[in-house]
Amino acid sequence: MPMAEVTKIPIIKLHDNLIVSIQVDLSDRVVLQLKDDITNTILHTGAGGLVIDVSGIDLMDSFITRAISDIGKVARLMGVETVVAGLNPMISMTLVEMGMEFEGVQAALSLESALELLASSRSRRGLLSSLDEEQEQGTDRIRTGRLED
Protein backbone atom coordinates (compact mmCIF):
# COMPACT_ATOMS: atom_id res chain seq x y z
CA MET A 1 0.00 0.00 0.00
CA PRO A 2 1.49 3.38 -0.97
CA MET A 3 2.11 5.58 2.05
CA ALA A 4 0.16 8.53 0.70
CA GLU A 5 -3.10 6.65 0.33
CA VAL A 6 -5.36 5.97 3.27
CA THR A 7 -7.41 2.85 2.97
CA LYS A 8 -11.04 3.69 2.46
CA ILE A 9 -13.33 1.17 4.02
CA PRO A 10 -16.39 0.72 1.81
CA ILE A 11 -19.81 1.73 3.12
CA ILE A 12 -22.81 -0.15 1.78
CA LYS A 13 -26.27 1.29 1.87
CA LEU A 14 -29.06 -1.20 2.44
CA HIS A 15 -32.50 0.40 2.50
CA ASP A 16 -32.38 2.68 5.49
CA ASN A 17 -29.15 1.35 6.94
CA LEU A 18 -25.45 1.65 6.34
CA ILE A 19 -23.20 -1.39 6.60
CA VAL A 20 -19.48 -1.12 7.19
CA SER A 21 -17.35 -4.22 7.10
CA ILE A 22 -13.91 -3.89 8.60
CA GLN A 23 -11.43 -6.17 6.93
CA VAL A 24 -8.21 -4.25 7.30
CA ASP A 25 -5.96 -3.12 10.09
CA LEU A 26 -7.21 -0.04 11.82
CA SER A 27 -4.83 2.79 12.38
CA ASP A 28 -5.53 6.32 13.56
CA ARG A 29 -5.67 7.57 10.01
CA VAL A 30 -7.92 4.80 8.80
CA VAL A 31 -10.32 5.36 11.70
CA LEU A 32 -10.37 9.09 11.06
CA GLN A 33 -11.08 8.54 7.40
CA LEU A 34 -13.82 6.04 8.23
CA LYS A 35 -15.45 8.47 10.65
CA ASP A 36 -15.44 11.19 8.02
CA ASP A 37 -16.83 8.86 5.36
CA ILE A 38 -19.58 7.54 7.61
CA THR A 39 -20.69 10.96 8.81
CA ASN A 40 -20.67 12.40 5.31
CA THR A 41 -22.68 9.45 4.05
CA ILE A 42 -25.18 9.94 6.87
CA LEU A 43 -25.38 13.59 5.99
CA HIS A 44 -26.08 12.93 2.34
CA THR A 45 -28.24 9.84 2.45
CA GLY A 46 -30.26 10.20 5.61
CA ALA A 47 -29.67 6.70 6.85
CA GLY A 48 -31.21 5.82 10.19
CA GLY A 49 -29.04 2.89 11.21
CA LEU A 50 -25.42 1.81 11.04
CA VAL A 51 -23.98 -1.66 11.31
CA ILE A 52 -20.28 -2.15 11.91
CA ASP A 53 -19.26 -5.67 11.05
CA VAL A 54 -16.15 -6.74 12.91
CA SER A 55 -16.12 -10.42 11.97
CA GLY A 56 -13.04 -9.80 9.87
CA ILE A 57 -10.97 -8.43 12.75
CA ASP A 58 -8.56 -10.87 14.31
CA LEU A 59 -7.61 -8.93 17.36
CA MET A 60 -9.96 -6.72 19.32
CA ASP A 61 -8.26 -4.28 21.59
CA SER A 62 -9.15 -1.12 23.47
CA PHE A 63 -8.15 1.02 20.50
CA ILE A 64 -10.71 -0.65 18.27
CA THR A 65 -13.45 -0.60 20.88
CA ARG A 66 -12.76 3.08 21.49
CA ALA A 67 -12.80 3.81 17.77
CA ILE A 68 -16.12 2.02 17.34
CA SER A 69 -17.60 3.75 20.42
CA ASP A 70 -16.47 7.05 18.99
CA ILE A 71 -18.10 6.37 15.65
CA GLY A 72 -21.25 5.32 17.50
CA LYS A 73 -21.37 8.55 19.48
CA VAL A 74 -20.84 10.76 16.48
CA ALA A 75 -23.47 8.85 14.49
CA ARG A 76 -25.90 9.11 17.41
CA LEU A 77 -25.55 12.89 17.40
CA MET A 78 -26.61 12.82 13.80
CA GLY A 79 -29.62 10.71 14.63
CA VAL A 80 -28.23 7.33 13.67
CA GLU A 81 -28.15 4.24 15.84
CA THR A 82 -25.17 1.92 15.63
CA VAL A 83 -24.90 -1.83 16.13
CA VAL A 84 -21.69 -3.84 16.16
CA ALA A 85 -22.05 -7.19 14.50
CA GLY A 86 -19.84 -10.26 14.08
CA LEU A 87 -18.52 -10.51 17.58
CA ASN A 88 -18.01 -14.11 18.38
CA PRO A 89 -18.66 -15.25 21.96
CA MET A 90 -14.95 -15.70 22.66
CA ILE A 91 -14.12 -12.12 21.77
CA SER A 92 -17.12 -10.86 23.73
CA MET A 93 -15.89 -12.69 26.82
CA THR A 94 -12.40 -11.30 26.36
CA LEU A 95 -13.75 -7.79 26.07
CA VAL A 96 -15.79 -8.21 29.22
CA GLU A 97 -12.87 -9.72 31.11
CA MET A 98 -10.56 -6.91 30.06
CA GLY A 99 -13.15 -4.36 31.08
CA MET A 100 -13.44 -2.97 27.57
CA GLU A 101 -16.84 -2.07 26.33
CA PHE A 102 -18.68 -0.30 23.60
CA GLU A 103 -20.34 2.88 24.74
CA GLY A 104 -23.51 3.95 23.05
CA VAL A 105 -23.40 1.05 20.66
CA GLN A 106 -25.33 -2.21 20.81
CA ALA A 107 -23.86 -5.55 19.95
CA ALA A 108 -25.24 -8.37 17.86
CA LEU A 109 -23.83 -11.68 16.79
CA SER A 110 -24.68 -11.66 13.11
CA LEU A 111 -25.41 -9.14 10.43
CA GLU A 112 -29.04 -10.33 10.30
CA SER A 113 -29.61 -9.93 14.01
CA ALA A 114 -27.97 -6.51 13.81
CA LEU A 115 -30.43 -5.42 11.14
CA GLU A 116 -33.34 -6.84 13.10
CA LEU A 117 -32.17 -4.98 16.17
CA LEU A 118 -32.10 -1.73 14.26
CA ALA A 119 -35.55 -2.37 12.80
CA SER A 120 -37.14 -2.78 16.18
CA SER A 121 -35.11 -0.18 17.98
CA ARG A 122 -36.43 3.10 19.21
CA SER A 123 -35.36 4.96 16.12
CA ARG A 124 -38.07 2.98 14.44
CA ARG A 125 -40.56 3.14 17.25
CA GLY A 126 -40.20 6.85 17.62
CA LEU A 127 -37.54 8.68 19.60
CA LEU A 128 -39.82 11.22 21.20
CA SER A 129 -42.44 8.64 22.03
CA SER A 130 -39.77 6.64 23.83
CA LEU A 131 -39.05 9.67 25.97
CA ASP A 132 -42.71 9.77 26.98
CA GLU A 133 -42.48 6.10 27.90
CA GLU A 134 -39.31 6.55 29.87
CA GLN A 135 -40.85 9.41 31.77
CA GLU A 136 -43.88 7.38 32.64
CA GLN A 137 -41.71 4.53 33.83
CA GLY A 138 -39.57 6.92 35.78
CA THR A 139 -36.49 6.24 33.71
CA ASP A 140 -36.15 9.78 32.46
CA ARG A 141 -32.56 10.19 31.48
CA ILE A 142 -32.31 13.90 30.87
CA ARG A 143 -29.26 14.82 32.80
CA THR A 144 -29.18 17.97 34.78
CA GLY A 145 -25.41 17.88 34.90
CA ARG A 146 -24.02 21.38 34.88
CA LEU A 147 -27.27 23.23 34.44
CA GLU A 148 -27.77 26.18 36.68
CA ASP A 149 -31.25 27.43 37.35
Binding site: V74, L77, M78, G79, S120, L128, S129, I142, T144
Partner: protein, 269 residues
Protein backbone atom coordinates in the same frame (compact mmCIF):
# COMPACT_ATOMS: atom_id res chain seq x y z
CA UNK B 1 32.21 113.31 44.92
CA UNK B 2 31.87 116.95 45.65
CA UNK B 3 31.44 118.49 49.03
CA UNK B 4 27.64 118.72 48.53
CA UNK B 5 27.07 115.00 48.48
CA UNK B 6 26.02 113.82 51.80
CA UNK B 7 27.03 110.26 52.32
CA UNK B 8 25.22 108.86 55.23
CA UNK B 9 26.01 105.43 56.52
CA UNK B 10 22.86 103.68 55.36
CA UNK B 11 22.73 105.17 51.87
CA UNK B 12 24.81 102.50 50.11
CA UNK B 13 23.36 99.74 52.21
CA UNK B 14 19.83 100.71 51.30
CA UNK B 15 20.82 100.89 47.66
CA UNK B 16 22.45 97.45 47.78
CA UNK B 17 19.40 96.00 49.48
CA UNK B 18 16.98 97.40 46.92
CA UNK B 19 19.12 96.22 44.02
CA UNK B 20 19.30 92.74 45.55
CA UNK B 21 15.54 92.60 45.73
CA UNK B 22 15.29 93.56 42.08
CA UNK B 23 17.74 90.85 41.08
CA UNK B 24 15.76 88.32 43.09
CA UNK B 25 12.81 88.99 40.84
CA UNK B 26 10.68 91.15 43.10
CA UNK B 27 8.48 93.27 40.95
CA UNK B 28 7.42 96.04 43.23
CA UNK B 29 10.79 97.55 44.10
CA UNK B 30 11.17 101.29 43.96
CA UNK B 31 14.59 102.81 43.99
CA UNK B 32 14.54 105.52 46.60
CA UNK B 33 17.80 106.91 47.83
CA UNK B 34 16.75 110.02 49.74
CA UNK B 35 19.65 112.01 48.62
CA UNK B 36 19.77 115.70 48.09
CA UNK B 37 22.93 115.69 46.08
CA UNK B 38 22.47 116.19 42.31
CA UNK B 39 24.73 113.26 41.64
CA UNK B 40 22.74 111.16 43.99
CA UNK B 41 19.46 112.23 42.42
CA UNK B 42 20.73 111.43 38.91
CA UNK B 43 21.86 108.02 40.12
CA UNK B 44 18.47 107.46 41.71
CA UNK B 45 16.61 108.44 38.50
CA UNK B 46 18.83 106.25 36.31
CA UNK B 47 18.47 103.24 38.56
CA UNK B 48 14.70 103.73 38.86
CA UNK B 49 14.41 103.75 35.04
CA UNK B 50 16.55 100.64 34.80
CA UNK B 51 14.49 98.86 37.41
CA UNK B 52 11.20 99.84 35.77
CA UNK B 53 12.38 98.55 32.41
CA UNK B 54 13.61 95.36 33.98
CA UNK B 55 10.34 94.89 35.83
CA UNK B 56 8.30 95.48 32.70
CA UNK B 57 10.37 92.87 30.89
CA UNK B 58 9.91 90.49 33.79
CA UNK B 59 6.19 90.93 33.42
CA UNK B 60 6.50 90.03 29.78
CA UNK B 61 8.32 86.87 30.77
CA UNK B 62 5.62 86.14 33.32
CA UNK B 63 3.11 86.64 30.58
CA UNK B 64 4.95 84.15 28.41
CA UNK B 65 5.14 81.79 31.30
CA UNK B 66 1.42 82.04 31.87
CA UNK B 67 0.48 81.47 28.30
CA UNK B 68 2.85 78.57 27.88
CA UNK B 69 1.46 77.09 31.09
CA UNK B 70 -2.00 77.51 29.61
CA UNK B 71 -0.77 75.71 26.51
CA UNK B 72 0.76 72.95 28.61
CA UNK B 73 -2.41 72.47 30.63
CA UNK B 74 -4.53 72.45 27.49
CA UNK B 75 -2.28 69.87 25.84
CA UNK B 76 -2.28 67.88 29.05
CA UNK B 77 -6.02 67.74 28.97
CA UNK B 78 -5.98 66.76 25.32
CA UNK B 79 -3.71 63.78 26.13
CA UNK B 80 -6.08 62.82 28.87
CA UNK B 81 -9.20 63.00 26.69
CA UNK B 82 -7.61 61.07 23.84
CA UNK B 83 -6.38 58.44 26.27
CA UNK B 84 -9.85 58.04 27.75
CA UNK B 85 -11.24 57.73 24.24
CA UNK B 86 -8.76 54.99 23.49
CA UNK B 87 -10.02 52.99 26.44
CA UNK B 88 -13.57 53.25 25.09
CA UNK B 89 -14.95 56.17 27.08
CA UNK B 90 -16.81 58.06 24.40
CA UNK B 91 -18.65 60.33 26.74
CA UNK B 92 -15.42 62.17 27.51
CA UNK B 93 -15.21 65.80 26.46
CA UNK B 94 -12.72 68.63 26.81
CA UNK B 95 -13.54 70.84 29.80
CA UNK B 96 -15.18 74.24 29.67
CA UNK B 97 -11.91 75.70 30.85
CA UNK B 98 -10.22 74.35 27.79
CA UNK B 99 -12.95 75.52 25.43
CA UNK B 100 -12.76 79.02 26.91
CA UNK B 101 -8.98 79.12 27.02
CA UNK B 102 -7.27 82.43 26.43
CA UNK B 103 -5.00 80.52 24.11
CA UNK B 104 -6.84 80.27 20.82
CA UNK B 105 -4.94 77.19 19.76
CA UNK B 106 -6.11 75.34 22.84
CA UNK B 107 -9.70 76.46 22.40
CA UNK B 108 -9.69 75.21 18.83
CA UNK B 109 -8.06 71.96 19.88
CA UNK B 110 -10.79 71.51 22.47
CA UNK B 111 -13.49 71.98 19.88
CA UNK B 112 -11.85 69.54 17.49
CA UNK B 113 -11.44 66.92 20.20
CA UNK B 114 -15.05 67.26 21.29
CA UNK B 115 -16.26 66.96 17.71
CA UNK B 116 -14.22 63.78 17.32
CA UNK B 117 -15.48 62.13 20.49
CA UNK B 118 -19.07 63.13 19.80
CA UNK B 119 -18.75 61.69 16.29
CA UNK B 120 -17.34 58.44 17.61
CA UNK B 121 -20.06 58.20 20.19
CA UNK B 122 -22.72 58.60 17.52
CA UNK B 123 -21.17 55.98 15.29
CA UNK B 124 -20.90 53.59 18.21
CA UNK B 125 -24.57 54.06 19.03
CA UNK B 126 -25.53 53.35 15.42
CA UNK B 127 -23.49 50.17 15.40
CA UNK B 128 -25.10 49.00 18.63
CA UNK B 129 -28.57 49.68 17.23
CA UNK B 130 -27.76 47.77 14.09
CA UNK B 131 -26.39 44.88 16.09
CA UNK B 132 -29.61 44.68 18.02
CA UNK B 133 -31.63 44.60 14.83
CA UNK B 134 -29.48 41.78 13.48
CA UNK B 135 -29.85 40.02 16.76
CA UNK B 136 -33.61 40.23 16.48
CA UNK B 137 -33.53 38.86 12.97
CA UNK B 138 -31.15 36.08 13.77
CA UNK B 139 -33.43 33.96 15.89
CA UNK B 140 -36.94 33.85 14.52
CA UNK B 141 -39.35 31.34 15.95
CA UNK B 142 -41.21 29.68 13.08
CA UNK B 143 -44.49 27.82 13.13
CA UNK B 144 -43.51 24.96 10.88
CA UNK B 145 -46.54 22.70 11.25
CA UNK B 146 -49.54 22.32 13.49
CA UNK B 147 -48.09 22.11 16.95
CA UNK B 148 -44.53 22.21 15.66
CA UNK B 149 -42.22 25.16 16.15
CA UNK B 150 -38.82 25.47 14.55
CA UNK B 151 -36.01 27.62 15.82
CA UNK B 152 -33.06 27.96 13.45
CA UNK B 153 -30.07 29.15 15.43
CA UNK B 154 -27.22 30.83 13.64
CA UNK B 155 -23.86 31.98 14.90
CA UNK B 156 -22.53 32.19 18.40
CA UNK B 157 -24.67 31.13 21.31
CA UNK B 158 -23.50 32.88 24.43
CA UNK B 159 -25.33 33.11 27.74
CA UNK B 160 -27.04 36.39 26.86
CA UNK B 161 -28.35 35.01 23.63
CA UNK B 162 -29.41 31.79 25.30
CA UNK B 163 -31.48 33.68 27.85
CA UNK B 164 -33.02 35.76 25.10
CA UNK B 165 -33.79 32.72 22.92
CA UNK B 166 -35.34 30.86 25.84
CA UNK B 167 -37.56 33.82 26.71
CA UNK B 168 -38.91 34.06 23.21
CA UNK B 169 -39.16 30.33 22.65
CA UNK B 170 -41.10 29.66 25.84
CA UNK B 171 -43.43 32.58 25.21
CA UNK B 172 -44.10 31.28 21.73
CA UNK B 173 -44.64 27.66 22.90
CA UNK B 174 -47.21 28.82 25.40
CA UNK B 175 -48.86 31.22 23.00
CA UNK B 176 -49.16 28.71 20.15
CA UNK B 177 -49.71 25.71 22.42
CA UNK B 178 -47.14 23.82 20.37
CA UNK B 179 -46.18 20.36 21.47
CA UNK B 180 -42.96 20.03 19.52
CA UNK B 181 -39.94 22.23 19.03
CA UNK B 182 -37.14 21.72 16.53
CA UNK B 183 -33.93 23.48 17.51
CA UNK B 184 -31.91 23.60 14.34
CA UNK B 185 -28.27 24.34 14.81
CA UNK B 186 -27.06 23.93 11.23
CA UNK B 187 -25.90 27.51 11.38
CA UNK B 188 -23.81 26.98 14.48
CA UNK B 189 -20.22 26.17 13.59
CA UNK B 190 -18.54 26.38 16.93
CA UNK B 191 -19.75 24.25 19.76
CA UNK B 192 -18.00 23.94 23.10
CA UNK B 193 -19.12 22.62 26.47
CA UNK B 194 -20.77 25.90 27.36
CA UNK B 195 -22.73 26.06 24.09
CA UNK B 196 -23.77 22.44 24.49
CA UNK B 197 -24.96 23.21 28.02
CA UNK B 198 -26.96 26.11 26.65
CA UNK B 199 -28.70 23.83 24.17
CA UNK B 200 -29.50 21.33 26.90
CA UNK B 201 -30.95 24.23 28.90
CA UNK B 202 -33.20 25.19 26.01
CA UNK B 203 -34.45 21.63 25.60
CA UNK B 204 -35.13 21.29 29.31
CA UNK B 205 -36.92 24.61 29.40
CA UNK B 206 -39.16 23.61 26.49
CA UNK B 207 -40.00 20.34 28.24
CA UNK B 208 -40.96 22.25 31.37
CA UNK B 209 -43.68 24.06 29.48
CA UNK B 210 -44.89 20.82 27.99
CA UNK B 211 -43.20 20.61 24.61
CA UNK B 212 -40.86 17.90 23.31
CA UNK B 213 -37.70 19.24 21.80
CA UNK B 214 -35.33 17.80 19.21
CA UNK B 215 -31.95 19.11 18.21
CA UNK B 216 -31.20 18.99 14.50
CA UNK B 217 -28.45 20.04 12.16
CA UNK B 218 -25.44 18.73 14.00
CA UNK B 219 -22.81 18.59 11.30
CA UNK B 220 -20.15 15.86 11.15
CA UNK B 221 -17.54 18.35 12.37
CA UNK B 222 -19.62 19.56 15.29
CA UNK B 223 -20.57 15.99 16.19
CA UNK B 224 -16.91 14.99 16.28
CA UNK B 225 -16.04 18.01 18.44
CA UNK B 226 -18.79 17.16 20.90
CA UNK B 227 -17.53 13.59 21.18
CA UNK B 228 -13.92 14.76 21.46
CA UNK B 229 -14.65 17.13 24.32
CA UNK B 230 -16.81 14.55 26.01
CA UNK B 231 -20.15 16.34 26.03
CA UNK B 232 -23.05 14.13 27.05
CA UNK B 233 -26.35 15.29 25.70
CA UNK B 234 -28.17 12.75 27.84
CA UNK B 235 -31.48 11.83 26.35
CA UNK B 236 -31.75 14.88 24.13
CA UNK B 237 -32.91 13.58 20.77
CA UNK B 238 -30.62 14.63 17.97
CA UNK B 239 -31.34 14.25 14.29
CA UNK B 240 -29.55 14.94 11.10
CA UNK B 241 -31.54 17.86 9.78
CA UNK B 242 -34.72 19.88 9.91
CA UNK B 243 -36.68 17.47 7.67
CA UNK B 244 -35.80 14.48 9.82
CA UNK B 245 -36.76 16.55 12.82
CA UNK B 246 -40.12 17.44 11.33
CA UNK B 247 -40.77 13.82 10.36
CA UNK B 248 -40.06 12.70 13.90
CA UNK B 249 -42.29 15.39 15.37
CA UNK B 250 -45.19 14.50 13.09
CA UNK B 251 -44.81 10.83 13.92
CA UNK B 252 -44.72 11.69 17.61
CA UNK B 253 -47.84 13.82 17.39
CA UNK B 254 -49.70 11.06 15.56
CA UNK B 255 -48.70 8.58 18.22
CA UNK B 256 -49.94 10.86 20.93
CA UNK B 257 -53.20 11.48 19.17
CA UNK B 258 -53.68 7.75 18.67
CA UNK B 259 -53.24 7.17 22.39
CA UNK B 260 -50.33 5.42 24.01
CA UNK B 261 -49.84 2.12 22.24
CA UNK B 262 -48.09 -0.68 24.01
CA UNK B 263 -44.75 -0.52 22.23
CA UNK B 264 -43.24 -3.40 24.09
CA UNK B 265 -45.76 -5.79 22.66
CA UNK B 266 -45.41 -4.28 19.22
CA UNK B 267 -42.07 -5.20 17.67
CA UNK B 268 -42.96 -3.98 14.22
CA UNK B 269 -42.24 -0.50 12.92
Amino acid sequence: MDKNDRVDGGWLERLAEQLERVCAGEKEVEIKLDTSSPGGRRLEAALAQLVDRYQVNLQDIDGFHESSMELALGLSETFSVLDALRTGDMGIRASAEMLESSNELIAQLAQAVNATTAGMQQRMETILRQQEAIHELSTPVLQLWDDVLALPIVGIVDSTRTADIMDRLLAEIVRSQSKCVILDITGVDVVDTRTADNFIKMVKAAELVGARCVLTGISPGVAQTLVDIGVDLGSVVTLRNLQDGLRECIRYLETRRGGRADHKANGQS
